[in-house]
């Protein structure tokens, strides 16, 4: 028998007087689903994401002013400090609470990447350093790296073939 959902026993609500198929049930379920406020989420993500970038800009400016660095030189220590802040906030159990409010605002910047690694590391600590922390640290961040590398490769190939401009 083909594994079609409709052939599953129990793929319908059958009560005394009521018979609903999967599709009909989905409609009932959707009626009771609270609406996601996309606009509010976007505004919050914009504000929080923007604020994180603003903090980054301030840190970079400090490096440039007081450590006599160029904008390019200051970039790496700036990122390192943002990562440190994110790791500290994650460790104190604050980052996930901000994220519930901010949504993509805390997920997209580099702090979100740091949070995904730090939270995985903390969570796996109980299973030891090698099988736990080492093996699981990239559980969430791993796919970002994999697809980042794949995307970079594809862009690189396009660049070579078409000789398009870019930073050298």
């Amino acid at each position: 028998m083909p594994a079609k959902a409709k052939n599953k026993p129990g793929a319908r609500v059958k009560l005394n007087n009521l018979l609903l198929t999967e599709e009909e049930y989905q409609q009932v379920a959707d009626q009771h689903k609270p609406k996601t406020n996309v606009l509010r989420n976007c505004v919050r993500a914009f504000l929080v994401g923007g604020f994180i970038c603003f903090i980054g800009q301030c840190i970079q400016q400090l490096f440039m002013t007081f450590a006599d660095m160029s904008a390019r030189e200051a970039a790496s220590p700036t990122v390192a400090i943002l990562i440190l802040i994110s790791v500290v906030l994650t460790s104190f159990g604050v980052y996930d609470k901000i994220a519930q409010w901010a949504g993509a605002g805390t997920a997209v910047p580099v702090t979100g990447f740091a949070n995904s690694m730090c939270s995985s590391a903390i969570e796996s600590r109980a299973e030891g350093l090698v099988l736990g922390v080492g093996a699981n640290m990239f559980k969430l961040a791993g796919s970002v790296i994999v697809f980042g590398v794949v995307a970079a490769f594809i862009v690189g190939v396009i660049h070579v073939i078409f000789g398009l401009g870019g930073v050298h």
């Binding site: 129990g10 009560l15 007087n17 049930y25 609270p34 994220a99 979100g112 995904s116 939270s119």
Partner: protein, 340 residues
Amino acid sequence: MLIGAQTWEFRSKPAIIGAATVVGPEEGEGPLSHTFDFVYDNLEIDEKTWERAERKLLEHASALALVHAGINREDLSFFIGGDLMNQIITATFAARSIAAPYLGVFGACSTSMESLALAAFLADAGGAKYAMAGTASHNCTVEKQFRYPTEYGSQKPATAQYTITGAGCAVVSKEGKGPRITHATIGRIQDLGVKDPFNMGAAMAPAAVDTLVSHFRDTGRGPEDYDLIVTGDLASVGHAIAKDLLEKDGVLMDKTEFNDCGLMIYDRNKQTYVNAGGSGCGCSAVVTYGHILRKLKNRELGRVLVVATGALLSPLSYQQGESIPCIAHAVALEQEVSKE
């Protein structure tokens, strides 16, 4: 004794002679906090790992339940337990120290009533003098196993439920004092194609409704025969769907008080992090063995039907795009001397 298609009627009406509930700090902040026997002030439950914490909750609850029942560990004929962890390690490891003959069961969040129904069956049939049913869940073990690391910053939708931290145990015996177990209806798997693990209420609602309707059909009872009917942990979304479906089927749920353990355990206005409400197999266990048994003993309630619901998914199954099979088991409880 089987009546109808899927309901057991317990002729001897076994009693819950002792029960205990132990919860974490967040449940202790909820409206039912006064009904729990012990509230831990830290989510770690004074342990090093989340898994140990969950086990400790169950060990603590089982020890208290034996004290409340007034029996020794050696007197216990069987311990029937389960939890949400892979290979039900919480119940199994707790059974190591409980040291009674042990049956492990898994019904996700319906494990509470699955184990209670089996304990009542054993006691009623003379298969056990004292049978203990117990379940536990911990918010962080479940987050870790089913979702993301606990500290990972992902935004949960409003339909998501919050696994409660707590354990509940009940000792059942044919003889002795306590609220009586009269019926148990064993549910069928229902799968209406819901795939979203963040909307388990919608996945589980058909199972709850099917078991409720089957219970009424088998026993000849109706909503009006119960002072309170609670679903396990459908939370706000699933409970509303269940109500809607029952209404469409012509079941008059307004003749009783129809509530949900996942809605009762938290104050959703203050504890907004719980989103749609509570879940986890500790949820219906601590609400039933705490709040509901108390009200049955105080005679504020005469007859109660607890329909515990379980979403039988695994992290693998939803990553592979499978829908969520769900189940619900109902257990009917009565105050000691029947009001009939």
